[in-house]
């Protein structure tokens, strides 16, 4: 019978197992294209809403609405990357409560691969969303001004950040009792984090006590870094550390988030006892 497992070092298996799990989630995306559709539609809605409804009321540069749209799109990029957390939170909780996690955990696969594969598939979905969002941005008047190398760096930063955030989502998902709770909990903390930032309005318009919080907010750093790399407006840029080193700080945030939440999530996954006591 053809059931002799192949022998290979553990790290090699982590890689192969991760790809196997990622393939599962990508197949799933193709089976439920609605979920991809709605993850695309939401940021596009935000672009249209802010570009054409709120945008006229927010003044960020000499060219009025056009300046605001160029200001807005990198902000929406950052917001989209943050909202990526919600999807994986629900997905992980669903798997945990349905017994398939038990199957994974009873297989001789690398335990980390269950989460690594899920986050990898999630990253691919996010890249697709970023592409779609860029096209929408270009359509409403957003432009890249600083050349290909900087633009590539901006996209790399967004992808890295998106990947980091999916680990946070995975970690949260492993703590949730069911997917309904996960759906709410996955988003609840994202709202204050994204709105107390510079993504829609310059920080200088906020009350004094909120400004330092918004300034150091990783979402602000990410949006500012993208604006700088794409050559989009950065009105009222101050001299504080996060304003002067946005790109480095944003990469730093992403790496710290992965370094903290990936091990936490894997540890939680390994020790988690799903199911009841019966």
């Amino acid at each position: 019978m053809t059931t002799q497992p192949t022998r290979r070092p553990a790290l090699g298996w982590l890689f192969t197992d991760t790809l196997s799990v990622a393939k599962r989630h990508i197949l799933k995306i193709t089976r439920v294209p609605e979920s991809l559709f709605f993850s695309l539609i939401q940021p596009v809605m935000f672009v249209l809403l802010f570009a054409f409804v709120f945008g006229g009321a927010i003044n960020v540069g000499p060219n009025g609405a056009q300046s605001y749209r160029e200001y807005l799109i990198p902000g929406i990029f950052a917001q989209t990357v943050m909202f990526a957390v919600a999807g994986i939170t629900v997905g992980i909780t669903e798997d945990s409560t349905k017994g398939i996690m038990d199957r994974f955990r009873s297989l001789p696969m690398r335990p980390g691969a269950v989460l690594a594969g899920h986050t990898l598939a999630s990253l691919m979905q996010n890249v697709l969303v970023l592409v779609m969002l860029s096209i929408t941005g270009l359509a409403v008047g957003w432009r890249i001004h600083n050349g290909a190398a900087d633009a590539l760096a901006a996209y790399l930063l967004l992808a890295t950040f998106a990947y980091a955030m999916t680990w946070v989502g995975a970690w949260i998902g492993l703590h949730m009792p069911n997917s309904e709770v996960a759906g709410t909990a996955g988003l609840a903390w994202i709202f204050p984090l994204t709105f107390a930032s510079n993504i829609f309005t310059p920080i200088s318009t906020m009350p004094g006590w909120l400004q330092p919080i918004a300034l150091w907010n990783p979402v602000s750093c990410l949006a500012l870094a993208c604006r700088e790399l794409f050559g989009n407006p950065t009105p009222g840029l101050g001299t504080s550390f996060p304003e002067q080193h946005a790109v480095a700080l944003a990469f730093g945030y992403a790496l710290v988030i992965v370094a903290v939440f990936a091990p936490l999530a894997v540890r939680r996954f390994k020790s988690r006892s799903t199911g009841g006591a019966a």
Partner: protein
């Protein structure tokens, strides 16, 4: 010889609740052991510890000689697990599911695909292989789930309530599949609330209650423990009951109970079917009319009742299994 499964003093708490209170278990290779008990008796917790999903608070367990806590990877190479929920991805097809688990068992692409084909064929799922699981019936899902647990050709298979929630026909099908596996030499640890299921499949039954083993043995041994066979007779005319009881005294292995109002006589016997023939003859000689006569063996229900002082709890639905014997169902 190494035992397929060996557990010593397994203890597990969930918060305040003591789920396992020192479980010992020995399962020889190629045997089927049934863990029998009501909800909350510790069946699932035992299986989860033995299949490396849960760490015991204290105690040790080995599968094929490998410690489940110290060497979980070696254990996972040997085991297959089918839980209470169909642990498959409902968005994938049957084949995709099996290939996924095959790859994660570290079979090569080619082997994983061949093994998937083989299992689909074996479990009569070839036709549905390329359809999404969403469209599968409950029985098909369970079969796929069992197929998935066989991906690595396990020598020890854990089946946690494999037929809970199945209709009688699917359950019968599942039993046949399990019997086939056993005939090929797979060691099976089966948990069930269906007394009948343990009786049908298991060569040894371990009865759990409140996290402890309260009895073990073959189905027959357990039944003998409760008491042997008895003959139950309804006489046509209830005034004959006492006379019939007296006439049958020589056959009885214990105290005869007679009920003069219903005309029912219960006689504990040892001879089984020979005793019933003698009883008919005696009553015929006495010209006592028999409305009904039956030899009744204790069922595992009786065993459970007498061991625990309570019946199997929570009979949610009283399904009558297709084989016509008694059974109860309930689910967690």
């Amino acid at each position: 010889m190494t035992l397929a499964i060996q557990a010593r003093g397994l203890v597990k708490h969930f918060g305040e609740v003591k789920a396992l209170n020192g479980i010992d278990l020995d399962v020889e290779q190629g045997k089927v052991v049934g863990l029998l008990g009501p909800n909350g008796s510790g069946k699932t917790t035992t299986v989860r510890i033995l299949s490396t999903l849960l760490r015991p608070d204290s105690g040790t367990a080995t599968i094929g000689g490998h410690d489940v806590v110290q060497d979980p990877d070696a254990v996972r190479q040997l085991i297959g697990l089918t839980g209470q929920y169909a642990a498959v991805d409902q968005y994938l097809t049957g084949r995709e599911n099996l290939e996924l688990f095959g790859r994660l068992f570290h079979l090569s692409k080619k082997d994983a695909s061949a093994r998937a084909d083989e299992l689909l064929h074996r479990f009569d799922l070839t036709e549905a292989a390329d359809r999404g699981i969403k469209g599968y019936s409950g029985g098909m899902r369970r079969r796929l789930d069992l197929a998935a647990s066989l991906i690595g050709n396990p020598s020890v298979l854990f089946l946690d309530e494999p037929t809970t929630g199945l209709d009688p026909r699917s359950r019968q099908g599942m039993w046949e599949v399990i019997e086939d596996l056993v005939s090929e030499g797979t060691t099976v640890l089966l948990t069930t609330q269906y007394l009948e299921e343990a009786d049908q499949l298991a060569s040894k039954i371990v009865v759990l209650d409140h996290g402890s083993v309260i009895a073990q043995g073959t189905a027959d041994e357990l039944k003998t423990q409760v008491g042997g066979d008895r003959i139950e007779i309804d006489v046509v005319d209830s005034v004959d009951a006492q006379r019939a009881g007296d006439a049958l005294a020589s056959l009885a292995s214990g105290a005869i109970t007679t009920d003069a109002t219903t005309g029912k006589i219960v006689i504990p016997v040892t001879g089984g079917s020979t005793a019933i023939v003698s009883a008919v003859r005696v009553l015929d000689e006495q010209s006592i009319g028999i409305a009904d006569i039956a030899l009744r063996r204790p069922t595992l229900d009786d065993v459970f009742l007498s061991l625990t002082g309570h019946a199997t709890e929570q009979p949610v639905e009283s399904a009558t299994p297709s084989t016509g014997r008694r059974g109860r169902r309930g689910r967690n």
